[in-house]
């Protein structure tokens, strides 16, 4: 009996003692491949930080980040939750056919921010409608993966109620018809490879169907798929959704599209920071695990694209990352496309309109969930309204 008690004590004290020692002695890991981020390292001791409680927070983050067997333990936890029949783990639906789909509920969004974003975007769009005419303004809302690939969801699972967001925005517009919701068009192609299995973005093909919907909406003729030459640039892409759960699923392949009649493209990022003659950036994905960066090399504040298409039209595009794979299809329709990502954009928006006086068309393209959780939309547009 006495042996039993001692066994218990040795097991427990051994477990916490040895784990503590190993965690302390193990060399620090600086970068986590699986999480794709730099890990917290031992914070410096500083009396004022301790009094403010900052040191304690950093130290806890450090212990959590540097805990030994960290990746294994995460996999273990995900495995147990799966074993207990959970159909979503760490905010990700475990879908059919190797699809992982982000799960959103009201808890993920701030109601107030949601309303502010819709309000400020509508004020902006109404002003653009006034300046350029409703025929020259489009606001395209791209649905989240779980709202389109409904067949891939676990049974009874559903996407976020995006329709309330879209209709709330529509109600605020002076010309409601400029709002283009592409859910139905994408849904009708849901058997095809239109979203990556392991990432939240749409694929080039998904963006192409978005482009078709746009062309139909604006009365243009969309080019057929045959017009483009396809090139597969990666076969081993594991995206952001995968990073949250690390389940054993097929990697994605990334395909880019070249038009048969090549355009004379010049890309200028942030007024000369990067210059390129292509919309695709193969260099960017050699080292990076995020293969979606092939499209325009990822997000940045401003990308000024000249196409030499000779259409006499210049487009101002406010956008999130979903636009990066979409713009290549749009290139032939404009001489110039100025892409602005409000999350990184710190200059004045009024200045932007002065810098590009020949803007003829305005487009806003966002994924619905990214739009409602984005804290830049309301603040940047609010600042612009104050300037005006």
């Amino acid at each position: 009996m006495r042996f039993g008690k001692i066994l218990m004590i040795i097991t427990f004290c051994g477990a916490i003692g040895i784990s503590a020692l190993v965690s302390v002695l193990k060399p620090e890991t600086e970068f986590s491949e699986k999480e794709n981020r730099y890990l917290e390292t031992m914070p410096e001791l500083d009396v004022s930080d301790i009094l403010a409680g900052d040191f304690q927070k950093d130290y806890e983050a450090y212990i959590n980040d540097q805990f030994f067997l960290r990746d294994t333990l995460v996999d273990f936890s995900v495995g147990i939750q799966r074993g207990l029949g959970r159909r979503d783990v760490n905010g990700v639906y475990i879908g059919k056919d190797d699809y992982l789909l982000e799960r959103y509920t009201d808890e993920d969004f701030k109601q107030e921010l949601m309303e502010d974003n819709s309000y400020f975007l509508s004020v902006f769009l109404n002003r653009m409608i006034e300046n350029y005419g409703s025929g020259h303004v489009v606001c395209m809302m791209v649905p989240g993966k779980a709202n389109v690939l409904t067949e891939k969801l676990p049974s009874l699972a559903e996407g976020y109620h995006e329709d309330t967001v879209v209709s709330a925005l529509r109600d605020l517009l002076s010309a409601p018809e400029i709002l283009l919701d592409v859910t139905e068009q994408l849904k009708s192609h849901q058997e095809e490879y239109i979203y990556y299995r392991t990432d939240h973005h749409w694929t080039g093909l998904g963006a192409y169907y978005g482009y078709r919907a746009w062309a139909e909406h604006t009365g243009r003729t969309a080019r057929d798929m045959e017009y483009y030459q396809q090139e597969t640039v990666s076969e081993d892409f594991y995206g952001t959704t995968y990073n949250k759960v690390h389940l054993d699923v097929l990697p994605d392949s990334v395909t880019i599209y070249h038009p048969s009649e090549a355009l004379d493209i010049s890309v200028n990022k942030n007024d000369g920071e990067t210059i390129s003659d292509s919309l695709y950036f193969p260099e960017e994905i050699k080292e990076e695990s995020d293969k979606y960066r092939i499209f325009l090399g990822g997000n940045t504040a401003k990308i000024d694209i000249k196409t030499g298409a000779g259409t006499g039209r210049t487009l101002l595009l406010f956008k999130d990352s979903f636009a990066n794979s979409f713009v290549p299809f749009l290139a032939a329709d404009y001489d110039r496309i100025i892409m602005v990502d409000l999350r990184y954009y710190s200059d004045s928006l009024s200045g932007l309109f002065l810098q590009y006086p020949d803007i003829t068309d305005v487009m806003v393209l966002y994924n619905v969930e990214k739009f409602i959780e984005d804290d830049a939309v309301a603040s940047v547009l609010d600042a612009w309204l104050e300037e005006e």
């Binding site: 009996m1 042996f3 039993g4 008690k5 001692i6 066994l7 218990m8 004590i9 097991t11 427990f12 004290c13 477990a15 916490i16 784990s19 503590a20 965690s23 699986k34 999480e35 794709n36 981020r37 009094l51 403010a52 409680g53 304690q56 983050a61 212990i63 959590n64 980040d65 805990f67 960290r70 333990l73 995460v74 273990f76 936890s77 995900v78 147990i80 207990l84 029949g85 959970r86 159909r87 979503d88 509920t105 009201d106 808890e107 676990p154 049974s155 009874l156 699972a157 559903e158 109620h161 309330t164 939240h200 973005h201 952001t240 990073n243 995020d290 979606y292 997000n299 990352s321 990214k370």
Partner: protein
Amino acid sequence: MVFSSLLFLFRFLPLVLLVYFLAPGRVRNFILFIFSLIFYAWGEPYYVVLILLSTVIDYTAGRLVDKFLSQENRKKAKWAVAGSVIMNLGLLGFFKYGDFLINIVNAVTPLDIGLMELALPIGISFYTFQTMSYTIDVYRGEAKVQKNFIAFGAYVAMFPQLIAGPIVRYQTIAEELNARKENLNDFSKGILKFIVGLGKKVLIANQVGMVFSEIAAMQTDYLSTASAWLGVAAFTLQIYFDFSGYSDMAIGLGLMLGFHFPENFNYPYESKSITEFWRRWHISLGTWFREYVYIPLGGNKKGTGRQILNLAVVWLLTGLWHGASWNFVIWGLYYGILLVLEKSLLGKCRIKLPGFVKRLYTLFFVMVGWALFSIPDMADGTGYLKTMFGLSGNGLADRYAGYIVSSNWAVFLIALAGSTSLMAKLCGQKLFPENTARRDVAASVFSLGVLAVSVAFLVNAAYNPFLYFRF
């Protein structure tokens, strides 16, 4: 600092145990006191002053009461007790109820006083109640005065029960403070108790808690009656496993260090009446209010009218103790009324109801109570209750409710089973009887397993993939 963190499990606890057991017995109170202050100051570097203040107040009050009593001057002794009570309630009132009172004043008078917006010092509701109990016990002659400031400080700040109880009355551990015998048997029992509590918190409370917080955050138009009940069911399980898990961890840590704290929960959801529920839920709080409020007010000895008044006072205070907002007041009075009704009506009717009907009746009212309790905003809470009873015009059931069940049924079932005494009876008595080698080995394996899984869940919760589309 909380017990269910890697910081506590793999830094603080090993260090405390190491230092504590390497040190000779006479300095162990000192070690406990210092480590407890570090434990507290970790999250609240400035508020640690408050706990020291409360300690000094009651150490002094206790000495004074003792001195006056030995001079047979009960009046002066009473004043010393009053001083302690006023100062402790003053601290509690200022930090916990200040803004609540200001809001009331602003609402009923033309005044417009600015809010203080102070962060609530962790554990203040627990340690002020504990220190008051000491001075009162000394006055009543139920406890001996503590002349050693370190020993008294170790009692007040004792990290195992500092943050979330149980509320340990001074008389309960007075002897152990002065002379305790840590031993292998208690230590190994303590480990098991601690691990059970850790598992309750991390593996059950946190999991069902995610279901509750998701449902509570839903836009009201999208909430169906079925989802609302699922939300309350999740909260019912969450609060039990969270709170009793924390108490178990406290009791377990106490045992490791040689203290015997009272049990705080006794399978409350098995109760067959509301009265019984409150005898089995947060027992140390109920005991405190009975010993230091209800009985001194006269209890049930001064007629029915007075008893109802006394119950009203106790339950108003119980409600307020849980938080400074109106929903807690209503929640407390709700129980006050239910208990009076139970005493007056059910006591008289002699119809024998089957046990499961009584259990369902109790659980129903407890769940409605948790709905009141869990949503501080009165408008939100009213809306939620309306939906629960199908009065909001939202659907009875929807796809969402079905999904929640389909994805969480196993966790719910485990939680449900764990909230009854079935598992304890099966494992503790049938499969692994007390004092058998089989039990000891099973307990070791179980502890290691639960620890490993809990740590995995803690690591996963802190796991935070970098969402690179933002940067």
